[in-house]
């Protein structure tokens, strides 16, 4: 009997994630939905820098110093890296509660609220927790069916709860949250430096050239300069202002969201329980803290729920009778279950379901062979045929 190899495209978890994110590169890249402004940001940065390298750099390298274009290149590379890192990474999305967890939370809420009279509104779903001796209210998210951890907020554009939600930035096309805040800050900081640098050297270039050949001729020779100066002038005010604002927030260990809502300001309000009351410590925590892992498993291989039968080509492709209800329910594990001739492929089917690691992408290769066997030592007694 020849082995029937059932090959089908592996479904990765990002394809089935709720929320309005866009994914690229098979789940490696994660962005918000609207990307138009992000493309504009890219165009402005790349365009302005290209003009700078084309028009100013040759003159300045010769007449002043070759270090000028070199430093500009380094700064440009840093800005682009930070922008792409901010835009393409998971901001700290909290996965939605699975049905069992959601039910458990509902039961807890009902137990806490007691009996609600018919016609009366049920009380708002709020949990009070004490953080550093201050009472903080945790709100319930009806979309994600979880009590949001402190500092988390639901982004309506991306339709996800994000941990330590700062804001949704259309310029980077993504939310800014716990995992990518420091890249966002470094992006704004380095972009401010780049803008100031280009602006300053544009002025220097125009001045130096005008001394030689006059102002009008300079503009005729390097028309790009005008465009660069315009872009840099308008960018300067906004980006430098933004950098200053975020520096202020970091020194107080606040998020934009908290600042806008005024969570920690005002006399009757709770003081910020997350601040270390020391500017250096606050900055170190935000910028030099640990790099948090993504808890959203995007690249894990999808093992569909065995209790929900869905039509599939796998069960049609299998050599089994299609009327067998068991083959319907186990259709996703059908290709992972070996036929008699390939016993080794059975193990990843269980291993991938019970033990997945978020750090490495799950391929259909056997993980540690002891894991499923150790966890499930019990086996049904074989019935004799």
């Amino acid at each position: 009997m020849s082995a029937v190899m059932i090959t089908r495209k592996v479904t990765r978890k990002w394809e089935k994630l709720p929320g309005k994110n866009t994914f690229c590169c098979d789940g490696r890249v994660m962005m918000g939905r609207q990307k138009g402004v992000f493309y504009l940001t890219l165009f402005l940065i790349v365009g302005t820098c290209s003009l700078f390298f084309a028009f100013e750099c040759p003159y300045l390298a010769v007449h002043l110093s070759p270090a000028i274009p070199v430093f500009a290149v380094l700064l440009f590379v840093f800005v682009m890296a930070m922008l792409l890192r901010t835009s393409f990474s998971d901001p700290g999305v909290l996965p939605r509660a699975l049905p069992e967890e959601a039910n458990f939370i509902e039961m807890e809420i009902e137990a806490a609220n007691g009996n609600v009279m018919a016609g009366q509104r049920p009380p708002p779903r709020i949990k009070n927790v004490q953080i550093n001796n201050q009472i903080v209210k945790l709100k319930y998210c009806y979309t994600c069916k979880i009590f949001r951890p402190p500092r988390a907020s639901h982004c309506s554009i991306c339709d996800n709860c994000v941990d330590r939600f700062d804001h949704h930035c259309p310029w980077v096309g993504n939310c800014v949250g716990k995992r990518n805040y420091r890249y966002f800050y470094l992006f704004t900081l380095s972009l401010s430096l780049l803008t100031i640098y280009i602006f300053a050297f544009n002025i220097v270039h125009v001045v130096l050239r005008s001394v030689d050949s006059g102002f009008v001729n300079t503009i005729k020779e390097t028309p790009g300069t005008v465009l660069e100066v315009l872009v840099c002038f308008f960018t300067l005010w906004s980006v430098v202002g933004l950098t200053g604002f975020h520096t202020y927030l970091i020194s107080l260990n606040q998020t934009t969201n908290e600042d806008i809502k005024g969570s920690w300001s005002g006399k009757n309000r709770v003081q910020n329980p997350y601040s270390h009351k020391n500017i250096i410590k606050n900055c170190c925590e935000v910028l030099c803290g640990p790099t948090y892992p993504s808890v959203l498993d995007r690249r894990g291989v999808m093992l569909e729920d065995l209790s929900s039968p869905t039509p599939s080509d796998a069960s049609a492709a299998s050599t089994h009778k299609s009327s067998n209800p068991v083959s319907q329910t186990t259709k996703s594990s059908a290709p992972l279950i070996p036929n008699e001739h390939t016993p080794d492929e059975a193990k990843p089917g269980i291993g991938a379901g019970t033990q997945k690691s978020t750090s490495s992408p799950k391929e259909e290769k056997p993980p540690s062979p002891t894991s499923p066997n150790a966890v499930a030592p019990a086996v049904i007694k074989e019935s004799s045929h």
């Binding site: 892992p293 068991v326 279950i337 019990a378 086996v379």
Partner: protein
């Protein structure tokens, strides 16, 4: 007409068929945990990852309080180690910034290393402590680091393992029948 009894070699080709096995009925008796139990996060020290060590009442008859509390305390220690802001995290942060975060393509972050330690620890705890008592702990990273969930080992087997076993048993039965005919 019944097919010929399966030989030992054919038996080993089926997944998870070992010589030592338990009767499913035995497991069913010990399965009194109808729902999953979720251990929530403890936010008293801020947003660091820490789980409540309060012993849930549903586990009263299933596991000793000290064993459970030790597991949760150990997990909390691991997470505290991962999120510690000190010399090593500064060096890692500065080095990463200087290399434009490309260094993370080559080396693992400290957090990822600790997460691996945690998953090994949970696996070991499941093998030694929880599975013998008919329970299973799931790694909190699978739940977005929001909860540590405990579920009945019987339920796990019932939902995942048995359908696969039945499917493969039917598969092999067909093959045996076709070989005989």
């Amino acid at each position: 007409m019944s097919s010929a009894p399966r030989t030992a070699t054919e038996r080993t080709k089926l997944p998870y068929c070992h010589e030592s096995f338990h009767n499913l009925q035995e497991l069913r008796h010990s399965a009194s945990l109808a729902n999953k139990v979720f251990i929530q996060r403890d936010y008293t020290d801020g947003t660091i990852c820490k789980f409540q060590t309060k012993f849930p009442s549903e586990l009263d008859s299933r596991i000793e309080r000290t064993l459970f509390e030790d597991t949760v305390k150990m997990l909390n220690n691991y997470y505290a180690e991962a999120e510690k802001i000190g010399g090593q995290s500064y060096i890692e942060g500065c080095l990463a910034c200087l290399t434009v975060y490309l260094v993370f393509l080559c080396i693992e972050t400290r957090y990822e290393k600790v997460l691996k330690k945690i998953s090994r620890y949970i696996q070991e705890q499941n093998e030694k402590v929880y599975a013998p008592r008919g329970l299973l702990i799931t790694d909190p990273i699978e739940r977005g680091m929001r909860v540590v969930s405990l579920k009945s080992l019987y339920e796990y087997l019932r939902c995942i393992f048995i359908p696969i076993y039945i499917y493969s048993a039917l598969n092999s039965k067909d093959n045996v029948k076709s070989q005989i005919s």
